[in-house]
Subunit: 348 residues, 2 copies
DNA sequence: CTTAGCACTCAACAAGAGAGAGTGCTAACA
DNA sequence: TGTTAGCACTCTCTCTTGTTGAGTGCTAAG
């Protein structure tokens, strides 16, 4: 569906003005502010056409027009010009990521915070899915009397640890022996390949310390089975309250209700269709009945070229698409870099 | 200040009714619902007295009365009867804590969630302050080519790890040597006692691998210096929106604004005066100008008898004190137990 | 095709009228 | 002396009504 040039200009004016003011836009306003070189009456005619084509709608007879979801869609697809980041914004992002960020959790949180701060909407960041990993190393460290720490390192760089109780009879060198046997037998194995036969071998070599071995095995099993639980980091939920569309408490309640349901958010972020580049979903395009008058802009981030997670922004349909799209895209890159640095120990 | 018995009954009726309904309470309501055996007129006289004594107040001339902050205080100190937990509630708490909770972060989060779910207000849980700790063990684990994991175990049971880049020339047995030297020299030391002389010794023994040693030292330093950063887990912010006092968006905004300022919340939870048993602060007793018409109920939790953190509930002054106090107290015990189990590896 | 003019519509606001809840005061009563 | 019934009074809340102004659609002229 192609609109003629003047209709495009009118639609663009309506979208811009409505995004800026949240008020329905009248013909006079457009004529005055956007200088199309024609009178309000002409614009009214164009608006009547646009309304018939369902790009804009009228809240009530004597109000101006607001873009329909289809109108926003047309805007995003054909009319919108990307709005580049300012130097300050890029600078801010770089600075924040460089500062003392040492583990994945911190990066995720920082990302959520930055994303919401820059867009002034609500940010959603899904933790990276590391994928299946295999056993790399186990270490038993004696702590106090009859207490030891089991540490398991996986080859994707995650570390799991747990405190256990051990018989006092176990000596430090016993622990070293246990560690050594485990390491020798299990290195590089995934959960499927840790078979009974192997366990029997280990048991055999270490019969004296059945209890400790059981606990160690349990932690290894947990570590192998553990899908990095996909937590979602939220940022700037609070921002939404500044949007006029959330000036009534009922809507705020529905929104917060939604944001508390992690599983629902996960679905919104992990849908297969949204795995390539920046995806913009407007209003009902978010397949969810509870979320109304909202749009989502999401994009996957990756480590070493493999897509391992998604981040995104949730805002009112009346969102600053041009700006947010750029920000979301930039943030996926920054996040990818930050993660690569942490997970691979490369410089700072 | 002692009130005579009938005045106490009237005050109690007003507090109860207002807590339940959030509506000013009239003399007729009290006479009908709370059967004091006297007529509304008599109750009106008593109410006039109570108002003069500043225990209750009148929002406007033709409305009923509501408790003043002083009224709530009198109620909490003299009139209130503890409301015990139901079997179901105790059962729920026990069940939730028993379920797959393996690390401190998970416990904290679960605590916040339970606390808000049971009280229907907002829960605040401060992470445990482990206190100064000393170095226990270091381990270098070779990962991929030219990449290794450094793991540092502290004697309070925390584990820190970081991925580093290493020269390809380093072999697995080099790493073991480095680990061994570090462990031998540094075990049990706090940051103050790691002196230059010691470092020189280590350097001397391991001159070949200066780069790795530097990185290892850095992580150890970080681990020693790291005050367990005091994060605050929030639960049920959303609950507050169901309270009629937060039916206007401005108040919601102030509240959420406050809840986003971690440092402020930390101050609210860590005040020295609040370190013994359950503390109830009503309205202005919370020394903070931004928080209005709210009360806080907080209590410290401990591990092995040492108080290492605080949890609490924030709600409207019109809070169900009798119930919340019991819940907060019970939760501190449950949390303490859960933490002891995790930190000491005692059974499940 | 564009534009000025004009009648029309409708939300938003303000002012006014009741209704209802609850009070304080007074006077009678136990 | 304490309690109660009766009653006038006050004040919020709600509903109604009138007014204003923004914005439209239509018509006819340029």
């Amino acid at each position: 569906m192609k609109l003629d040039e003047r209709k495009q200009k009118v639609l663009l004016a309506i979208v811009h003005d409505y995004i800026a003011t949240a008020e329905p836009v009248g013909s006079r306003t457009i004529a005055k502010k956007y200088k199309l070189g024609v009178s309000p009456a002409t614009i009214r005619n164009e608006m009547a056409d646009l309304e018939e084509l369902a790009f804009i709608e009228q809240p009530h007879t004597s109000a101006g027009r607001i873009p329909s979801e289809m109108g926003y869609r047309y805007y995003v697809d054909y009319l919108m010009k990307r709005q580049e980041l300012t130097r300050e914004e890029e600078e801010l992002i770089r600075r924040e990521y460089d500062a003392k960020i040492k583990d994945v959790g911190q990066v995720m949180q920082k990302t959520g915070q930055l994303l919401s701060q820059l867009t002034r909407y609500t940010a959603l960041v899904l933790t990276p899915q590391m994928g299946a990993s295999s056993f790399k190393h186990i270490q038993l460290v004696p702590m106090h009397v009859s207490r030891a720490m089991i540490i398991v390192v996986m080859d994707n760089g995650t570390v799991h640890h747990r405190m256990i109780e051990v018989p006092e009879s176990i000596t430090q060198s016993d622990m070293e022996t246990i560690s050594r046997v485990f390491n020798a037998k299990l290195q590089g194995l995934t959960i499927e390949s840790i078979k009974l036969t192997l366990l029997k071998e280990i048991y055999f070599e270490l019969t004296r310390h059945k209890h400790v071995i059981d606990l160690a095995m349990e932690l290894i099993q947990d570590s192998l089975a553990l899908k990095t639980e996909d937590k979602i980091y939220l940022g700037g939920v609070f921002n939404m309250l500044n949007q006029p569309e959330f000036h009534n408490v009922e809507k705020v309640k529905t929104l917060l209700g939604i944001l508390e349901q992690e599983s629902l958010l996960k679905d919104l972020l992990t849908g297969k269709a949204y795995q390539n580049g920046v995806t913009v979903r407007i209003g009902k395009e978010i397949k969810n009945d509870e979320i109304r008058e909202c749009s989502m802009i999401t994009a996957p981030y990756s480590v070493n070229g493999r897509k391992i997670g998604t981040l995104g922004v949730l805002g009112p349909t009346r969102m600053e698409y041009a700006k947010v799209i750029t920000i979301v895209e930039f943030m996926t890159k920054s996040l990818s870099q930050a993660l690569e640095r942490i997970m691979q120990g490369r410089g700072r």
